[in-house]
């Protein structure tokens, strides 16, 4: 088990390196991107200033040296200095990490707590009323633009009903978290409902379920002893994949609700061409995603012996 965990962690290293390389190439090597991005709206910058900045940023060095020093500084936890605020990117991200984690975990909890039981109930009576309604809700939830849904929720619950604050982090209290988390949680909730339903339906036709019935088990026990654990394997996969997608969606939702997280930092930095901040935010998002996926894979191995011994 331990060797599996270690192996799994080591496997992510090449991916991390590749991501760093991609980010570096995208923002530092693609011709002109960094210089043109330093001026607003692509207007020409004073060549002298440009020259001085190039020197200052070490842009005259060969690519591999720049990549080397980039990696070296990343290794020490130095993500560079923001072009705009002149603040270390590391500390900018640190400040915003907690709100983003809060948002994502709240959204995922919302999705799991509603989606999984919904899918389960739907699967027990396929074609029934609950099944039909929940699947219509699920496919609708998947088809909505998050920011549109957010706008509608904001309009209804904050502006019309006045139950909840419309945007912002406020004091960090739960009231501020509800609307963004619900907005963000709708599509993973819908997907989890569908995956759970499909997984349960599939497992209910498996041979080992027939064996369980031949043992004289009631349907409740069949589900409890044999279906749940197997369904969990498939549900976990969805949760893992959705956490990644959630990081992407968080960008939009944070921006909409002016949530002070990494997502809105990323969007603001992109709009303001703050390359170090962009690079840093993306890297942190990826690291987060890879960490989550490693945890999910380990959980997998706990649940499914076939993976543990593979």
């Amino acid at each position: 088990m331990l060797s599996f965990v270690i192996r799994r962690i080591l496997q992510t290293i090449p991916t991390v390196l590749a991501v760093v390389l991609v980010i570096f190439v995208l923002f530092s090597v693609v011709p002109g991107s960094i210089m043109s991005s330093m001026s607003d709206d692509g207007r020409a910058t004073d060549p002298q200033i440009a020259e001085r900045m190039k020197k200052q940023l070490g842009l005259d060095d060969p690519v591999y040296i720049r990549f080397g020093s980039y990696i070296a500084s990343l290794a020490t936890g130095d993500f560079g200095t923001s072009f705009r605020t002149r603040e270390p990117v590391t500390s900018m991200i640190a400040k915003r990490a907690w709100p983003t984690l809060q948002l994502i975990f709240a959204a995922m909890t919302f999705a799991i707590v509603i989606g999984v039981p919904l899918g389960f109930i739907a699967a027990l009576r396929p074609g029934g009323i609950i099944d039909t309604i929940s699947m219509v809700v699920a496919v609708s939830g998947l088809s909505m633009a998050k920011f549109w849904l957010g706008l509608l929720l904001m309009y209804l619950f904050a502006l019309k009903l006045g139950w909840l604050p419309s945007f912002g982090y406020g004091d960090g209290g739960l009231r501020y978290l509800i609307l963004p988390a619900a907005t963000l949680g709708v599509s993973p909730m819908a997907l989890l409902a569908r995956t759970t339903r499909a997984a349960v339906l599939e497992i209910m036709t498996a041979d080992f379920v027939r064996t369980a019935r031949s043992k004289g088990m009631s349907e409740t026990l069949v589900v409890k002893w044999h279906v749940m654990r197997n369904a969990l394997v498939l549900i976990l996969t969805t949760i893992g994949l959705q956490l990644g997608a959630l990081m992407g969606q968080a960008v939009v939702v944070e921006k909409l609700f002016s949530w002070p997280g990494i997502g809105s930092l990323l969007v603001d930095s992109v709009l303001q061409r703050d390359i170090p901040a962009v690079q840093g935010s993306i890297l942190v998002v990826v690291l987060f995603f890879l960490t989550i996926n490693t945890v999910i894979d380990v959980l997998y191995a706990v649940i499914d012996p076939r993976i543990r011994y593979a």
């Binding site: 706008l151 997984a199 339906l201 990644g244 990081m247 992407g248 969606q249 709009l271 995603f289």
Partner: protein, 273 residues
């Protein structure tokens, strides 16, 4: 949902979207960009202004109709690019195996590690906004799922008797891939492609909403919502109609995908991401 219902509803919604997109110049009442008239600013929906007007007095109905063109172009073209990339990589990786398979696997893992919307955002940041950048950004970032399915299908198909038989009969690799493997994995690929189109429409809207996709004044559904956000209290209709257009289009594609899955790919109903 009953078999076939989702296929019919989805197909109808998608056909409607295509129809609106193709006939936009004839269906629109006014020019979506030029016909601004501050005299008509922020009119609520009425018989004259079906979906109301915005702060510059432009007809929302006409803008939504024109927005269909952009959304569908982005959805269809970028997903085609994704499908071609994904199938090519997945098919060759599964068939040849070895270092190429390792490489493609690594690439897929890399693509999965960066949330596709964020990857697209980064590319947009480098390329600048506009339709071409959008097509590139969305076309290059959402192929990993197709690739995985293509690879998995190839791995399971390649040991089927008829593929082995083709090798024994002296078929070349390329011929085997095109005549034996591809036709037999098309079902799931089409399903994923249909669902992927929906994701692309949503991604375009999100990027435009963030100010990185289609820039105002051009009427993309996402950019319209971006503008509408400020007036949510005074003119909620500005938010409702473009969002509804996105919803119905994507709903159509999702239902169509589900319906096609029942027909083309009955085994893999449980997998979707």
């Amino acid at each position: 949902m009953k078999f076939g219902t989702s296929l019919i509803i989805g197909g109808a919604l998608f056909a409607l979207a295509i129809f609106v997109g193709l006939l936009a110049p004839w269906l629109a009442h006014t020019d979506p960009v030029m016909d601004a008239n501050l005299m008509n600013a922020e009119e609520p929906p009425s018989w004259t202004w079906w979906f109301g007007t915005d702060a510059q007095g432009r007809d929302i109905y006409s803008r939504v109709v024109h927005g269909a063109r952009i959304s569908l172009t982005v959805g269809i073209v970028s997903q085609l690019v994704n499908s071609v990339i994904g199938v090519t990589l997945g098919l060759t990786a599964g068939y040849w195996g070895g270092w190429w398979d390792d490489f493609v696997n690594g690439l897929t893992n890399l693509m999965l590690a960066i949330p596709s919307l964020i990857f697209a955002l980064a590319i947009m940041a480098v390329l600048g906004s506009g339709l071409t950048s959008l097509l590139i950004a969305l076309g290059l970032t959402n192929w990993s799922f197709t690739c995985r399915i293509a690879r998995a299908s190839t791995l399971s198909l390649k040991n089927q008797g008829y593929v082995q038989a083709a090798r024994v009969l002296g078929y070349g690799d390329l011929r085997i891939m095109i005549t034996q493997l591809l036709p037999n994995m098309l079902g799931p690929i089409i399903v994923i492609g249909t669902l992927g189109m929906g994701s692309a429409v949503l991604a375009e809207a999100a990027l435009s909403f963030l100010g990185l996709g289609i820039r105002p004044p051009y009427p993309s559904w996402g950019s319209m919502l971006s503008e509408a956000r400020e007036q949510i209290t005074t003119a909620p209709w500005l938010s409702i109609f473009p969002g509804l257009a996105i919803f119905l289009t994507v709903l159509g594609l999702n239902l169509l995908g589900d319906g096609l899955r029942d027909i083309l790919d009955p085994q893999s109903r449980s997998q979707r991401a």
